[in-house]
Structures are given as structure tokens and as C-alpha cells.
Point group: C2
Chain length 519, copies 2
């Protein structure tokens, strides 16, 4: 632990679950906690045991994780008005969680004390001090989250500071300034943080921001610059309304640009993988446009940029993508031209001399005008290139398929698919049922290929995405299907487009299998 170490406090599992669309299973929560620990977070807030049974169960099972570095924190509010902490169900639920750290949230803003809690300013101060003191006396490291601190500070700075002083008197190890509504601006956060630090003396100060004004990351950085030593946030910024402070941007900013010490260089290289892992368990498409860790974060589309990048990588990149485990890409599209495609050919380890590059460029242009997109479907691009090689022989050729889905008198759905595939001189004609039409097609195709290519059984579809391209044409619009396929640790993506979702899926599926078989 160096003098300029910043504590990373992750609340993906508590505040992060407030994001619209997120609902983790208990198993998901345990897996994420283990991953956050392995990554190097200093604190992991696991949940609010006083608010729901899933979180109680999480803390019951958490010791089996055997966390190697992170301290587990249970979150809850200060005692209710007029009740002793020892008699408060929420405070007792916190004790029952049996974590080394307890994070107590209390009110800093008179508006909330009077309108929401419906109590007095004095009772609120007592609620804070007594709750912190009680938990501290039970042997807990107590972190005090000052909800709405910056709004409260604007409304009545003296009272907001008095709430923090109450937490400090109670024995809080750290008081955390929360921009709960997310509307503060960086210079406001910097000024208030500096004043708190001057006012409190020895107590550590932390920062917890949201992105409602678009300044969540900058606000966290500004607070650290003003002296805060703990940053609370979530992986990918997942959180209520717009977002929590995004640790996947804050950590590399602190470490690579501001010279603070959060993680080892090796841990930091795990950032992109962590970001994708949490997106996967959250069942959200990983956002390509996340700073540092998004698939597009170092993707260059403009022909001029790509040309300049070939001359000097620093010319259009703010950091080396490898430092956060990401990579530089050039994007293939109708606008990008020959330079990007040549760059891709290098990346695929192909020899441009033996390929018909202008033909592929022309094909891409034409297919894109029909709705294909080759951004994010690199295996389809590689296949197009390989197919222009004079010696290329496709491993199989599909000639026919037939799919049927029905419900009759409440029975169903019933799904059946047939395919006819040529492999060399042989014709395979197979039939399969499935849960859905694409699943049935997939099953019939695998059946046709498995006899000749046994390895196909190790190839799995990892993701299947559907995008409707032209919302104006109702259900007749062009449908684009992206399929991600996996074999062991290798992954590749293929694309198909058609007004018919089955046909589009079929094309992406056929490309995906062809790509598997030529490796």
C-alpha cells in the first residue's frame, strides 16, 4: 500500500442492481464477487441484507468464496427515528451478515430529513452517530455514506458538515460524499470535498457519484484530486437511472493519467475481461462504446485515421489499449477503403497477394447496401477473403432447407426442420426437431455434418443477436443476425441479413460452421 493508493470500493452487487433490466441470481452474485476479488477490488459491497432475502442468503454463503484480498461490506441505513440500534431490524440484519465492513447510509440534506424521514435535524444527527458507534462497538469497520451530500451542502453547508462530524464522532473509518442524484459538476465536487477534508481533520473521505449530468467519472476524479482516498462505483457504471460512477473508466484514469496507485499493471490488464464478464452475467450486451474497455474504444474507421495509425499508433490513441486488456482495430465498412481491409488481412495472417482484395471490397459495398454489416462479423469478412483464393474449397455446401412452426388447439409450439447438404460427392439429408426454428435448423445441420466432421460437436453457439434494420417497414424490414460461435477459448462472429429472420439466421449459421471447419 503506497502513499498515493486509492481504495476501490465496488458496489456492482448493491447499487449496480438498481439499473433497469438487471436482476442477478444468487449464483451470479457469488460469481461476480469472486471475480471482483480476483481482479483486485479493495471492498465489495455485496448487498442490503435488511431489504431482501436474496442478499441475506448471499452473505450466508459468501464465506465459502474465500476472498483473497477484498473486504466484504454489507449495506444498510442508519437506525430508524426513535429506535435504539440494538432494536432496529435493519441494523441487526447488518450484524447478521457477519462481514468485516458495514456501510451505513444516512441523510445530509434537510429536505430529506423533514420530507422523507419525517423527523428533525437533531434526531437525524443522533441516528447517524449512534448507528455508527453501535456497529463500531460490534467490531465492524464502518464506512458512512452521506446520501445527497452535495445537494445538502448546497442547501445548508453547516448542517451537511455536521452530519459528517456525527459519523466521525461515532467512529466511522471513512465518510463517503454521495452525489446521489448525480447532477453535480466537477468544480462543485472539488470545492466541497476540499472543505470537508479541512473540516474533518483525520477521517478518510470517499466519493460516490452518479452520471445524471454526464460528469460521473470526472466528479470522482475531481474528488480524488481534492483529497478523497476511496472511490465507490460499479463495473461498467451499471446503476440506477443513467449510471453509477464507472470504475472501468475511473481506475485507468487514476492510474494511467493521474499517477495514483490502484492496482498492479497486470491486474489493470484484466479490466476489459472483467467488464465483459459482468455484462455477461448481467445479461446485457457489452457496450461497444465504453471508454477504455469497449470493443470500439480503440477502433478506427476513418481512412485518414487508419492511414495515420499505420505510421504512428499514438497519433489517434490516448493510451496503449493493451494496458487495460483491450486492442486496436480498424473497422471494415464501405467508407473505409483498401487500407482497413489490408490491415484486416494482416490481422488474419493471410497473404494479400493470393487474394482478390478489390473483389471483396466491391462485395462488401454491395452487401452493406443490402443491410449486411461487417463491423463485428470478422469471420464473415475472413471467409469472403479466403473464398477469393483460387485454391479455396468450401468444406460443405447447403442446397435446401425447410422449417415449420405451429400451434394447434393450444398444443405446441411444434418445430421441425430438414436440411440438404453436399459434402464432397455425398449428399446428406437430415431432419431434426428443436425448441425454435433456428435451433432445429442448427440441429439438422450438425447432424448432416457430424458424420464427416466429428469436431463439430465441440463447436457451440455463444451468442445470437437480431437487429431489425428499417423500423419503417414493419415486420417486412431487413433483419440482420449476428452469431458468435465458440470452440474452447476461440470465438468468432458471422453475419446474415434478409427480410426473413430464418433465412438470415441460416446464412450466419452456415458461415459460422464453415469458419469452424477451415481452422
Amino acid at each position: 500500500m503506497t502513499a498515493n493508493h486509492i481504495d476501490l470500493y465496488d458496489t456492482t452487487l448493491r447499487d449496480g442492481t438498481q439499473r433497469e433490466g438487471i436482476s442477478y441470481s444468487l449464483d451470479d452474485k457469488l460469481k461476480i464477487a469472486a471475480r471482483l476479488d480476483a481482479f483486485g477490488m479493495d471492498y465489495i459491497e455485496g448487498g442490503w441484507p435488511g431489504s431482501n432475502p436474496k442478499d441475506v442468503e448471499f452473505f450466508r454463503r459468501a464465506p465459502s468464496l474465500g476472498l483473497s484480498h477484498a473486504k466484504l461490506a454489507a449495506f444498510g441505513s442508519t437506525r430508524r427515528k426513535g429506535v435504539r440500534p440494538a432494536d432496529d431490524a435493519n441494523v441487526q440484519a447488518l450484524m447478521g451478515a457477519e462481514t468485516p465492513v458495514v456501510t451505513l447510509v444516512g441523510k445530509s440534506w434537510a429536505l430529506h430529513v423533514v420530507n422523507v424521514l419525517e423527523t428533525t435535524a437533531e434526531e437525524n444527527l443522533a441516528m447517524i452517530e449512534e448507528s455508527v458507534a453501535y456497529c463500531q462497538a460490534q467490531g465492524k469497520e464502518v464506512i458512512y455514506d452521506a446520501e445527497h451530500f452535495f445537494d445538502g451542502y448546497k442547501a445548508d453547508a453547516a448542517y451537511a458538515l455536521a452530519t459528517l462530524a456525527a459519523a466521525a464522532r461515532g467512529g466511522a473509518a471513512c465518510v463517503v460524499l454521495c452525489d446521489t442524484n448525480g447532477g453535480s459538476l466537477p468544480w462543485e465536487v472539488a470545492e466541497a470535498t476540499a472543505r470537508v477534508i479541512a473540516h474533518l481533520g483525520g477521517v478518510a473521505v470517499g466519493i460516490h457519484t452518479h452520471d445524471d449530468g454526464g460528469c460521473g467519472v470526472a466528479n470522482s476524479l475531481a474528488a480524488v484530486r481534492a483529497g478523497a482516498v476511496q472511490v465507490q462505483g460499479t463495473v461498467n457504471g451499471y446503476g440506477e437511472r443513467v449510471a453509477n460512477a464507472n470504475l472501468c473508466a475511473i481506475i485507468p484514469d487514476l492510474q494511467l493519467k493521474m499517477g495514483y496507485d490502484c492496482l498492479s499493471a497486470e491486474q489493470l490488464r484484466g479490466l476489459t475481461e472483467l467488464s465483459r464478464y459482468v455484462a455477461e452475467l448481467a445479461n446485457l450486451t457489452h457496450d461497444d462504446h465504453l471508454p477504455f474497455v469497449g470493443a470500439s474504444a480503440f477502433a478506427h474507421k476513418g481512412g485518414i485515421h487508419v492511414a495515420a495509425m499505420l505510421k504512428d499508433a499514438a497519433s489517434y490513441q490516448h493510451i496503449d489499449p493493451a494496458a487495460v486488456g483491450n486492442r486496436q482495430r480498424s473497422v471494415v465498412s464501405e467508407l473505409s477503403g483498401r487500407g482497413n481491409l489490408i490491415d484486416k488481412i494482416k490481422q488474419f495472417n493471410l497473404n494479400p497477394e493470393s487474394l482478390d482484395v478489390p473483389k471483396v471490397l466491391e462485395q462488401i459495398k454491395q452487401l452493406e447496401s443490402q443491410g449486411f454489416t461487417f463491423e463485428g462479423a470478422e469471420a464473415s469478412v475472413e471467409l469472403m477473403l479466403r473464398r477469393t483464393h483460387p485454391a479455396y474449397v468450401p468444406p460443405f455446401e447447403m442446397t435446401d432447407y425447410w422449417v415449420m412452426v405451429q400451434r394447434r388447439r393450444g398444443r405446441g409450439p411444434i418445430v421441425e426442420a430438414t436440411v440438404k447438404v453436399r459434402v464432397g460427392p455425398k449428399i446428406m439429408h437430415t431432419v431434426a426437431e428443436g425448441n425454435g426454428p433456428v435451433n432445429a435448423l442448427d440441429a439438422a445441420l450438425r447432424q448432416a455434418l457430424a458424420g464427416v466432421f466429428p469436431r463439430i460437436s465441440g463447436v457451440r453457439l455463444a451468442d445470437y443477436k437480431v437487429r431489425i434494420l428499417d423500423g419503417e417497414n414493419n415486420t417486412a424490414a431487413t433483419t440482420r443476425v449476428l452469431i458468435e460461435t465458440r470452440e474452447g477459448m476461440r470465438r468468432w462472429s458471422t453475419v446474415g441479413a434478409s427480410p426473413n429472420i430464418i433465412d438470415a439466421s441460416w446464412r450466419a449459421l452456415a458461415d459460422s460452421m464453415e469458419y469452424a471447419l477451415i481452422q
Copy 2:
């Protein structure tokens, strides 16, 4: 124009098109330009006529738009090394665009001058000054974009300032400091901007940032606070790599929080609609988590937050959502409980007394465990509530369907669907072809309903979204279909989930039509 007016310079149509996945048609570009003008942007950068024929054609057709307020700008680089502006193809293309404003981009960073342009520091200064002077002499208002200004300033402040002085000597109306690689931090931007303003004296200074470090919005705000009077950005932040500066966050921050004057209050209320319109033409799903304008920006999920909001709207909101044309919502989910559902019932103008609220809560919980999600499918929630009313009679009932898709010997795809629907005592049995299976089902269903409900012909599907919920189960995973339907200006969303994409689509389609018919 007041003293604290900030000029809004929109580059959605130029820098914004560098975003991976965006490719506007010429028509799209013209429509967006008209919309940006109507919204109140001061400058609209339409494209780079020297780089592609689509942009040349855009400027040829732009006068027909009859822009009411915005000035149109053509973008291009300073003259090449060793060539007079009058002989430079790119500068001449700018003149050919016949816009009142020309924006010239030049180099501020020695790394780029030497490594990319492969010329000398002196020639670069001459390129800047002569290009600006030439365009100014042709009667243009010249804006000078200093590419990589902040990186150049860090490497060699004196040279970076000298490039701006060259633009000023040439007669630039405004010099714009560009954080091209997007990695600067707010205090760096503030310091450099203040120094530039002190150095240049009378010339107006603008700011152009990117979001690679997660500080794009904050950096723009910091520059304005330091004296910049023009902000360049894009709608929704669309742009290369991570994002351009997001005008949909910067504008309300400047106007509602910092007291600058950008737009009238009425214009500002058009912000959310503008954001959605551009997403639609960009063919991108509108990001629910955009600050200010996202569908989730004022959505409250936590039971405690919702309860507090009912007491005091300011308690968990940083601004009034109506100021930017957005609205407050509570989110229905298994975590949210009775309070959120009661809030929804109010929003739907239903009477909770006549409905079975606990039954619907139980249903939601059960369906969500199967993969449904009611966040974003409010019409399905409203239908579930209405169906618990003792007097509710569904307008129709679907009993059977059958769908077939095939390709035979290169012919196809051929698609056919039949449906059997009961309307009161009548049974309708209809068949239709379609471009795809959902389209054929939709057509057969409409045919069955149209005889009894003529208004169904005015109901259109506006969007169709598919999400695979469990990537681990290959093509057998649960599929969730969200359908957005439109009738005139009204829109509603319904949901269906099943391992079978056709069956999931069918459920969402049936809900969508039922909802249309009970209005």
C-alpha cells in the same frame, strides 16, 4: 444573443458518422440537418466535401432545406504541403460547397506534423495561416479546428500556441481547441483554455472533445467555464471510438446548471425528441442510459426511491425531466413491489379498486422468472392489469397458427402462415405469405381481424427487437421479443418470451393488437 450565449456547433453529420455502425443515406443527412436547424443549433457541419461524393451532393442539395437559423459549415483540412490554397483540391472542394462557414482543421502537435504530414513545423504554420486567409478572402466565416491541441500543448505549448496565432493572423473567426484523442482531463482543459484566451486576445475560442477517458462532457463544460464560447459536439455523442462530446448532456448542463444561454426553454424541451430522432435515422437503438434524454434517465426502480419520490419529486431527481422533454417513470420488476405497480396504475388512469393487483404482481414475478421482462413493455403490463377486471372481454382470441419457411434447389425463401382466430362467435381462418415468418403471421392475423376491426389497418409495427436471454444454451436459449407499435402519434410496447422466436413474436404481436383494439 445575450452576453453569456454559447454557440452550439453540431458535427453529427461529419465527425458523428465516424462511429462504428453508422452510415447515413444522403436523404438521412438532409433530414437530420433540417431537424438540427429546427431544434436551434447555431452551426451545422454537414460533411467533408473533399473526402467523398455523398458529402459533395449533400452541399449541392442543402440550399433546398431553407435553414431558418443555423449556419451550414463545410469541413476540410488546411492545404497540403507545398501547394497554394488556390491549387489545393481539398480547399477548392470547400469553396465548391458554397456554405457561409468553412471549418479548417490543422495540426498543433509536432508528432503529427513530422510523422504523419511529413513536413516541417514552419511549413505547417504557413499551411494554417494561408489556408485560413484564402478562405476568409473568399468571403467565408472561417472556424479553425486545432486537431490534437491538448496533446500538442502538453508536448510543446509554445508551438501549439503558435499554430493558433497563425490561424488568428489568417483571419479565423473562432479557433477551436480539439481533444482529438479524447484522453484529456477537465483541469488540463481548463488550464490550457484559459492560457489560450489570454494569449490570443480578441479571437473567439471553441472546444471540441471526445469521451475516451470518460470526461468528454466535463471537458467541454470546463472549457466554457474557462472562457470558450463555442461547443462542438454531436447528438447522443455519436462519434469515432467511444464518443464525441454529447451535446444532449452539455446543452442542459450549460443552460440548467451553469446559467449559460444556449436555447429558449421551449427549444430545450425538444431535446429528448431530437435525441430519439437522430438515433432512429442512425438506425441505432436509442440508449436508455443517456443522461437527460434516455428512457431510464428519470426511471426509479428501488422501492425506497419510488416511495420517496411520491413524497417529494426532487428527492431523487437532479432536474425536472420536463425541461428536456423527458419524463419520470417507475419501473415494474420483481424487486419493485406494490408501490411501483400502483404508480403505473395511476399513470394508466386505471382504478386500482377494480383490479387484482396482488394477482398481477404474482404473475409478473412468475413470468419474469421465465424470461419475460416488463421493463419497457408497459402495454403488456397494462393488459395484465385490465384482464383482472371482472368485466374485461378480450377483443379476439387466437387458437392456432402454422408457419413454414423453405429454400429448395436455390429457390426461395418461400414463407407461408395460417392463423385461426375467434372474434366473439365467429372463427376466422386465414392464410398469407410474407417476407419472413413474423411478417407472414402478422399479415394473416391482420387479415383475420380487418373485417371486424377496420381501424387495424392504421396500426403499424414501429420496432421489433429480439434478445437472447441465456447465451449458454446455444440456439435453444430463451428468446425475448419486444414489439413497439404505432397508431398515428401513439406508441406502445409489448413483450413475448419463449425458446422459440416465432412463438415469442406471436405473443408480443397478439398483445400489441389486443392493446390497439381496446383503446
